[in-house]
């Protein structure tokens, strides 16, 4: 297992475990609909225990979670699995976040309670890496309300002084102003690390996908200049860079026919020396085995390979897919829609080399979102999902577009 160093000199594995897509008893990931149904998360603790043990056995030492993940169960489940692994607390690094997204969680007292809860759930008395969660999501004003006006950031710095938090950092999505503000105040807060979305598409094209974004290249270079280690999230774009996609395979396969698409994407991220850890939300044991292999040791990409990845990125952008990574931040939709599945369904169809017939598409749609009432047509357009989306997708607009498309297909099918 290739490893890098934290700012305080600890060894850390280049592959990190992202506890956002935990395995469920039906073989899907937490929040998926299969069998366990829409009402329970159905996390498979036994499998999770085995996975965490496997990861630790193979030298993976970085575990990233949040109080918001998996309907709020992630921390507790991860804590249980780490305790069951038999490893000592000093053998691994826990990263969790101050996920005070809702206005009722802005007050400092609530934030403090959230931190104490994290400690309790994770069965520890200190957090190695503590993050301000998704700064910039919802705009600079929200950032200010969440961390500055309520004194939460100053309190976090105090936690670090008390050694209850070893490293302080932030994860960034959204408004560039928040990112710039944090870096401008680096002298004051001395960030120990920073978590950004980086992969071979966002490297040069994040701004192209959404004008509000900053390219990962810019973020990385800015952080490297300040000597802040970088933690990477969404190296696979929620699986969009890992699932078979003709556009990607066409560019990458000739260079290494045996490598999976996921391996390509992970190697890209690991190539950069200031990257401390690449987080991957691995749901299945097979994902874990494959990724551990990719990183043992990691082979950095050559210039020619980087060029091929850039071509693949451009090919992906041409498909005009919706940049949804199924992170579930938008969920639960108050009107019961299965937003990530709807958007992902659209992407699936767009990624096919030839588009299926109306009848086939409708069949696939019914399979992708099995409950009628969770399909696109039931969107009320209330827009309560929008501020939560770290990719800044205008969700109601996309859903309306998908509904219109499905309607066209239905009419086409019924008109025959």
């Amino acid at each position: 297992m290739t490893s890098r160093q934290t700012k305080d000199g600890r060894k850390v594995s280049l592959l990190g475990y992202g506890a956002m897509r935990m395995p469920t008893v039906d073989g899907g990931h937490a929040n998926s609909w299969v069998k366990t149904g829409y009402s329970s998360s159905g996390i498979d603790q036994k499998m999770l225990d085995a996975q965490i043990k496997y990861l630790l056995d193979h030298g993976v030492t970085y575990f990233d979670t949040s109080p918001a993940y998996c309907r709020g169960e992630s921390e507790e489940r991860l804590g249980r699995a780490l305790a069951a692994s038999g490893y000592a607390r000093g053998d691994y690094i826990i990263a969790t976040k101050l996920s005070n997204f809702a206005p009722q969680q802005y007050p400092l007292e609530t934030c403090k309670k959230m931190f104490e809860d994290s400690l309790r759930f994770l069965r520890t008395d200190y957090i190695d890496n503590y993050l301000l969660h998704a700064i910039g999501n919802g705009g600079f004003k929200t950032f200010s309300q969440r961390y500055l006006e309520n004194g939460a950031l100053d309190w976090c710095v105090k936690l670090r002084e008390e050694k209850r938090v070893r490293n302080l950092g932030f994860s960034y999505h959204g408004d560039p102003k928040a990112f710039e503000w944090c870096l401008d105040h680096h002298g004051e807060y001395k960030w120990d690390f920073c978590q950004i979305q980086m992969n071979y598409v966002d490297w040069r094209h994040a701004k192209e996908v959404n004008d509000r974004n900053l390219d990962a290249k810019y973020l990385y270079e800015r952080l490297t200049a300040l000597k802040i280690p970088v933690v990477i999230m969404e190296p696979l774009l929620g699986g969009r860079l890992a699932r078979y996609n003709y556009a990607l395979a066409k560019e990458l396969t000739p260079l290494d026919p045996e490598a999976t698409l996921a391996k390509w994407a992970l190697r890209f991220c690991g190539t950069f020396p200031n990257v401390m850890t690449v987080l991957s939300g691995m749901t299945r044991m097979e994902h874990i085995e494959e990724n551990v292999e990719t990183f043992s040791p990691l082979k950095p990409c050559s210039e020619a390979e980087l060029a091929a990845l850039e071509r693949a990125a451009q090919a992906l952008l041409k498909l005009n897919t919706i940049p949804c990574n199924s992170c579930q931040y938008c969920m639960p939709c108050p009107y019961g829609l299965d937003i990530p599945s709807i958007l992902t369904f659209r992407n699936t169809i767009l990624s096919m080399p030839t588009s299926p017939t109306a009848r086939e598409t409708l069949k696939m749609y019914a399979k992708a979102i099995p409950e009628e009432l969770r399909r696109a047509e039931h969107c009320t357009g209330c827009g309560r999902c929008n501020p939560h989306c770290p990719q800044s997708i205008d969700i109601p607009k996309e859903i309306a577009m998908i509904d219109k498309w499905i309607d066209t297909l239905k009419n086409e099918e019924a008109g025959r």
């Binding site: 299965d338 409950e371 009628e372 969107c379 009320t380 309306a400 019924a414």
Partner: protein, 539 residues
């Protein structure tokens, strides 16, 4: 030989009828239904000659009873003789009472109930999982399994009674030997204790079943704190419609109620998933719109009318189909989540396929002139337990007649004057309207496939626009200003054209030089090549 033929016909019929309920185009089979069709008359006339042909080989219930008999009592000859045995007194009383009751019900306007006990209706309802129908169907099978032949046909079925009467003097029928004293000993098997017939009755209507469903639990104002998970969802209730909404083509409601035999074929074949079984006593088993699972698709080729064996749903031709209004939407303020939850919901107006719902100052306003009563708004309305917008059916469906030539041209010209750059109409109905740059908007219509067989009115038509019309298979073009070369191009491809003013050349906005689009296509003769060039340029 005769037996093999009978089995073959029976199997084919049962297959056809069943397949029809799963969308197979077996229209012929469907029309054997005892309704006032020619086929029915033929069967009726044949019956005195060949016996109960219908009950034996055509009726799905009859065939199934025979099959069940054969399965349960393979060795007895009861099966063979039972239908020819002399009737007992009790049997006569029961069957004639049922028939009389059916006639009385039909005459007093409760025909739907009478139709419900007819074989096709029972079979259809069983296939569409309407529980009273499934119950009756099970009863028929159980009776047959108990071993006394086709008891339903011979004791209850009004259609059976009718055919029995007709076949009394039939020449080809088997007769029981002369000595028959109606002892019934031929029911061979050891006489069992009279078992009570287990009445397998679902008895639960879909509406009852829904009462148990939890009320819709929308997450209210408090913001969510964790990611993932799903809010509870539940189906809405069915609003008490003053008038039920019927499928397009069931033009006159009372006429429809009279003709419909409640076979359930339309329900099984509805592509929008919006037809359901009525539980009202007067229309029991007949179809009516229920928008909980779908709504009437505007583009649907009227699958319901295609399969209707009774002619109760009339197939409408293209123009009529597109302009039939089956009802209109009514909004209830106190139910709307705008009032109950303070959410600015736009579901109904977004979903409306004809753009009949406008949001004015946050309130949905239904344009009743445009509303076709398809139920899309009701289907997507998030209000629970009852939708806040619902469709009230019409007693008589409204078919908005398309405009005549002159009226259409005037209307389209008015749209052009109002800022549109091109308008397309088909069969007297405006199907497309675009604003913006002339050639680009025509290209857009072309890409959307809206130009075929249309009458196009545009502001300016040069060679570029003319080529698009040729490629789009437009029938007729009218322009405020038309280039002479454009008119020639259209004429060469057999497209009629007209204009307020014809000019030798289309100029640019400042009238200083020739139009850039015209310059771009200079030198190209083939319309396909011109369109390709234009598309390149548009990029």
């Amino acid at each position: 030989m005769k037996k093999a033929l009978k089995i073959a016909i029976s199997a084919a019929m049962l297959g056809c009828v069943t397949a029809a309920f799963f969308g197979a185009p077996t229209y012929l089979a469907c029309r054997i239904q005892p309704s006032a069709t020619i086929t029915f008359l033929v069967v009726l006339l044949l019956t005195p000659l060949v016996g109960r042909l219908f009950c034996e080989c055509l009726c799905p219930l009859g065939i199934i009873q025979t099959a069940v008999n054969w399965l349960f009592h393979p060795k007895t000859h009861v099966r063979r003789v039972c239908t020819r045995l002399p009737e007992t007194k009790a049997q006569q009383i029961v069957r004639w009472t049922v028939l009389a009751l059916a006639i009385v019900l039909a005459l007093t306007g409760f025909g739907a109930v009478a139709w419900f006990v007819t074989p096709y209706s029972i079979y259809g309802k069983a296939l569409t999982l309407f529980w009273p129908g499934v119950g009756l169907f099970a009863l028929v099978a159980v009776l047959a399994a108990l071993g006394k032949g086709r008891i339903w046909c011979n004791w209850v079925c009004p259609v059976g009674t009718l055919f029995n009467l007709l076949s009394k003097k039939s020449v080809c029928v088997h007769k029981v030997g002369k000595g028959c004293g109606n002892c019934r000993a031929c029911f061979a098997q050891k006489k069992k204790e009279e078992e009570p017939v287990p009445f397998v009755d679902g008895g639960v209507t879909r509406r009852d079943a829904l009462k148990g469903v939890a009320v819709f639990a929308a997450v209210k104002a408090a913001e969510k704190t964790t990611d993932g998970g799903f809010a509870d969802v539940s189906l809405p209730g069915v609003p008490a419609r003053p008038v039920p909404a019927l499928p397009p083509g069931a033009v006159d409601r009372s006429d429809f109620n009279l003709k419909c035999v409640a076979c359930g074929l339309c329900i099984a074949n509805c592509r929008g998933g919006c037809l359901s079984v009525s539980t009202s006593l007067k229309r029991f088993g007949q179809p009516e719109m229920d928008f909980r699972h779908g709504y009437c698709l505007t583009g649907c080729a009227q699958q319901c009318a295609k399969v209707c064996p009774a002619g109760a749903i009339r197939p409408l031709d293209g123009v009529e189909r597109k302009n039939v209004h089956v009802g209109h939407a009514i909004w209830k303020r106190e139910l709307c989540i705008r009032e109950t939850e303070g959410v600015q919901c736009t579901a109904c107006s977004r979903k409306c396929p004809v753009g009949a719902i406008h949001v004015v100052e946050g309130f949905p306003v239904v344009d009743k002139g445009k509303c076709i009563g398809c139920g899309a708004c009701e289907h997507v309305c998030p209000a629970r337990p009852m939708p806040a917008i619902f469709v009230k059916g019409f007693e008589r469906q409204r078919i908005v007649r398309p405009m005549d030539e002159a009226g259409l041209l005037a209307e389209m010209k008015a749209l052009i004057d109002g800022g549109a750059s091109c308008v397309a109409a088909r069969d007297g109905v405006i199907v497309g309207k675009e604003t913006g740059f002339g050639v680009k908007s025509l290209l857009k219509l072309l890409d959307e496939g809206k130009l075929a067989h249309t009458f196009v009115v545009a502001k300016v038509v040069g060679r570029a626009a003319a080529a698009i019309c040729v490629v789009g298979k437009v029938k007729r073009v009218y322009a405020s200003i038309m280039g002479a070369d454009a008119a020639a191009l259209l004429k060469a491809h057999g497209i009629e054209s007209g204009a307020d003013k014809t000019v030798p050349k289309i100029l640019n906005h400042n009238l200083t030089a020739s139009c850039p689009m015209e310059q771009a296509v200079e030198g190209f003769d083939n319309p396909v090549a011109i369109v390709k060039e234009l598309k390149e340029k548009a990029k």
